[in-house]
């Protein structure tokens, strides 16, 4: 196999060994078994108070073995890579199956993988390149405004190798690079303090920052913090909302995306359960999820079950088209995997997850959309969000937001949470812009305690009414 590392993991990756482990896993029967081998090396540096504050190295290596029997899954993993330790993991996983007969593991065949990123990328030999980028970011952020009082910046450069062998006879290997550079700027004027954060990167190398310079990232962060200094408390109550292009895509991710993950739907606990083919949103709403976009954070050659992370239409002109499936749920629902099985590491089982979720362009211009709002909020970017699956109630924290008064963007607002109901908000989408783009790449999604990198994107979108949770009464 290509790029096989030495040491313990190299031994495990021998196809004969993998097949033996699959055989042990299926010793008590079961429909399916897989062996997930991972090695991930991440280098990081943090800058604080104008200085490189700390360096870090994280090595994650181990093997997870899973057995699926109907809707049941057994799992064992080991970071110790002796055959004995892996045999124990296989035997633990096998306990879930209760058939009298063992299932045989077939001969394994390596499948080729095509990924939308460089699968031969290596780590830079010298760390000075990271240090340089951080110092450039620091200088640029401080130069924006005399009120910038603190800059924190970090860079992480990671290479993750995964090898997945399964009882369908497949072995796949994906080599996933990821760089992220994030800058947080704090501005202060008298007793008021405000923040701005911007990050970017993707499944690429530090060369990415030749074009998307650390200066440009830092200036954006510093500008947001300076703007937020002037921000007033957000109003409380129902408002028209214009959600900004790019980062506004967090709205799709939270308000709709999670509800379309197949584990919730197979169990019938999502409000979208059993609604494929039905209208779930205004006809202006189309939502895609795609793991095959060049160098995006959520892109994958294969998902963590070895299936290609395909392009999927989740919602087309307001009609629900399908769910995001992993192997277990896709099999039980009779549609198969959509390449959406993802996991944080070898220590946990995969779940159906989003990759890069976005909405294609509509027909309105940004100016038309803003001009149509009488009294509302322009939520240019979000600091994060959360959703409750069964009813679809969500919240987003606005990172950069403005009042819209009589068709014009006026004062910045801060500290606002917008709260609403996903399906209801999607029926209230009354305009979609022609300015769609993917957000700058720094989003990470959490589900069931597992974090995975994702991408989001959207054109400017207008929602006719949503709850703004500010503290300013009017």
């Amino acid at each position: 196999m290509s790029d096989t590392p030495g040491g313990g993991l190299g031994t495990v990756l021998d196809p004969a060994t993998l097949r033996r482990l699959l055989g042990l896993a299926l010793a008590r029967g079961g429909d399916y078994a897989d062996v997930f081998c991972e090695r991930r090396v991440a280098t990081s540096f943090r800058l604080q108070e104008g200085q490189i504050h700390e360096g870090g190295l994280t090595v994650t290596q181990g093997v997870g073995i899973r057995v699926i029997d109907g809707e049941s899954a057994g799992y064992g993993f080991s970071d110790e890579l002796t055959f004995d330790a892996l045999e124990r993991a296989a035997s633990v996983a096998s306990l879930i199956a209760r058939s009298a007969n063992s299932t045989t593991a077939p001969r394994l065949q390596e499948q080729s993988v095509s990924a939308p990123y460089d699968t031969h990328r290596t780590a830079p030999a010298d760390s000075s390149v990271y240090v340089d980028l951080l110092q450039r970011a620091d200088v640029a952020a401080r130069a924006v405004d005399y009120r910038i009082v603190a800059v924190n910046a970090f860079i992480t450069d990671e290479l993750q190798d995964v090898w997945i062998a399964n009882s369908l006879g497949k072995i796949t290997h994906d080599h996933r690079p990821m760089v992220t550079l994030g800058v947080q700027a704090a501005a202060k004027e008298r007793e008021v303090r405000a923040h701005g954060y911007v990050g970017d990167g993707g499944r690429t190398s530090v060369d990415f920052f030749d074009k998307r310079t650390p200066e440009s990232i830092a200036r954006e962060a510093a500008n947001i913090s300076a703007i937020n200094l002037q921000a007033r408390e957000a109003p409380a109550g129902e408002r028209e909302i214009v959600v900004g292009a790019g980062g506004g895509g967090v709205l799709l991710h939270e308000a709709v995306g999670h509800g379309l993950e197949s584990d919730f739907n197979r169990r019938g606990v999502s409000l979208y359960s059993g609604r494929v083919g039905q209208r779930v949103a205004s006809e202006l709403v189309t939502i895609h999820d795609d793991g095959d976009l060049p160098e995006e954070r959520g892109s994958l050659g294969v998902d963590d079950e070895g299936n290609p992370a395909r392009h999927k239409v989740l919602v087309g002109n307001g009609i629900l088209c399908g769910y995001m499936q992993d192997h277990l749920n896709g099999t039980l629902m009779g549609v198969g995997s959509t390449g959406s099985g993802r996991r944080q590491s070898f220590r946990v089982m995969p779940q159906p997850r989003m990759c890069n979720t976005f909405m294609p362009d509509g027909g309105s211009t940004f100016e038309e959309i803003i001009g149509s709002v009488n009294r509302g909020i322009y939520a240019k970017s979000f600091a994060g969000g959360q959703v409750e699956i069964s009813k679809g109630d969500f919240v987003f924290m606005i990172a950069e937001g403005y009042l819209i008064e009589n068709g014009k963007i006026t004062a910045p607002v801060r500290g606002a949470t917008i709260a609403g109901n996903g399906p209801e908000a999607m029926t209230k989408v009354v305009a979609v812009g022609n300015d769609g783009r993917l957000a700058s790449r720094h989003y990470t999604c959490g589900k069931g305690g597992q974090l995975v990198p994702v991408g989001v994107g959207m054109p400017t979108v207008k929602i006719s009414s949503i709850n703004v949770g500010g503290s300013n009464f009017d």
Binding site: G7, E49, G55, Y75, D79, G415
Partner: protein, 442 residues
């Protein structure tokens, strides 16, 4: 693996020979078991032993950190070499370095280890998850589905060795149970979740009580309305109250205070909260989930009063931020920064029901969503659900609203604290009432 203390000592030695001036190795060996059931089907069964090493190195006053699960000798040697090469790029920092004052106490009876966790057989754990499922479904006919019932436990061995001669080791257990019912009344689906945890199986809330709490929280939200936008007293039920306290703890963290990212900066000695706001961290609470004899740097834990009847007395500090702020470590170093041991708001004497009865019009918050917090300004804003209180009674469930305010105003506004404090997490709180907050609804 060989004996972890021996291994950690070896790693420290090896790191010094590779050129480090100081080194600290922390080894964690965790043996974990977890089971999930839905209905009477066992849907997940997981068991594993995980080993990890966290190595802090100092090159003079430059620091770097390695986390690894790859202990293969040649690979570990490479990692240490790479880490030291990285450390050379870090700026010297006068406050960086191992603590001077450490204490490897091992004769304390902190009740970290419970035999009822290790002696329990897998069948009874599986049965428990199935029992939780049966109990929620028996409680109300509308509960016809679930996101699963879980039982999990762990035995964790923690070892810490540093180049100044500190060597310590302790072993702790932890068990947890929880269930997430889904209820349907035809038109509407409702979910909730309820969990408990403890150092021993015996210390946890019973299976029946967990199931009842989960079931009640699920069905009581049927018929929820959106409240009016108003300024009223807000009661935070204990789980939500604990989440507020966790945010306040972040603002108390020296890491935020030192860089100006806290509304509590330069406020030691100031009266910020009401007389009912006494917030404490007790690192040696017997049987506490966050109880440890010494923190992640080997500094002895103890009792730290952050707020004494509303007055700010101390921040939460590790060695680095202690030095930086000209204070001393409070024993709050944790892998990855500063963290809580057993942080709590001191309990009052009345029940939650009495708090509700003493509120003529207000809101009881049972659950919040959202997490971004501006620690510098102390701005607080969350999506929420709970109950409208009218004339001292829970009038009807409410949802799709948000509550907003600032932490200083909330601390100052605490005008009643209930007696329902329970140590089932590392940050806990009794239910409390804030005199007035903004509730945004219709």
């Amino acid at each position: 693996m060989i004996d972890p203390v021996e291994f950690a000592t070896e790693v420290v030695k090896q790191t010094l020979s590779a050129g480090a001036t100081q080194a600290e190795a922390a080894i964690t060996v965790g043996e974990r078991f977890s089971v999930e059931a839905r209905g009477q089907t066992v849907t997940k069964l997981e068991q594993s032993t995980a080993n990890s090493l966290a190595l802090r190195v100092f090159l003079g006053r430059r620091k770097a950190l390695l986390h690894t699960s790859d202990f293969e000798p040649r690979s570990l040697g490479d990692s240490i070499a790479r880490l030291l090469a990285g450390a050379a790029h870090v700026a010297p920092d006068q406050y960086a370095g191992l603590p001077e004052d450490m204490q490897a106490v091992d004769d304390l009876d902190l009740k970290l280890f419970a035999t009822d966790v290790v002696e329990r057989d897998a069948q009874s754990k599986i049965r428990e998850a199935q029992d939780l499922e049966a109990a929620i479904r028996a409680w109300d006919a509308r509960i016809d589905n679930s996101n699963g019932a879980r039982y999990a436990d762990a035995v964790v061995t923690s070892v810490l060795v540093n180049s100044l001669g500190f060597a310590g080791s302790y072993r702790g257990t932890r068990a947890s149970r929880g269930v997430s019912p889904v209820a349907s009344d035809g038109a509407d689906k409702r979910t909730a979740s309820y969990n408990t945890a403890g150092r021993s199986v015996r210390a946890m809330e019973s299976v029946q009580s967990v199931a009842e709490n989960a079931a009640r929280r699920t069905v009581e939200m049927f018929g929820a309305r959106k409240p009016q936008t108003m300024r009223v007293p807000v009661i935070f039920e204990r789980d939500v109250a604990a989440a507020v306290l966790a945010d306040i703890f972040s603002a108390l963290s020296g890491a935020n205070v030192a860089v100006g990212n806290s509304f509590l900066g330069d406020k030691i000695g100031d009266r910020i909260g009401s007389g009912l706001a006494t917030i404490v961290d007790d690192g040696r609470l017997p049987g506490g989930l966050g109880t440890v004899p010494y923190d992640a740097e080997g500094v002895a834990t103890g009792r730290t009063v952050f707020f004494e009847r509303g007055t700010l007395r101390s921040y939460a500090l590790d060695t680095y931020y202690g030095r930086k702020l000209s204070m001393v470590s409070t024993g709050n170093a944790q892998s990855g920064g500063i963290g809580p041991n057993n942080v709590y708001l001191e309990a009052g004497t009345s029940t939650l029901e009495e708090l509700i009865a003493a509120t003529s019009r207000g809101v009881l918050v049972m659950d919040t969503i959202g997490f971004a917090t501006e620690y510098a300004t102390g701005t607080y804003s969350r999506g929420a659900r709970g109950f409208q209180i009218e004339n001292g009674e829970l009038a009807y469930p409410i949802e799709e609203f948000s509550i907003a305010g600032t932490f200083p105003a909330m601390l100052a506004g605490i005008d009643a604290v209930a007696n329902d404090l329970r140590f089932d997490s590392t940050v806990v709180s009794p239910s409390f009432r804030v005199a007035e907050m903004t509730v945004s609804g219709n």
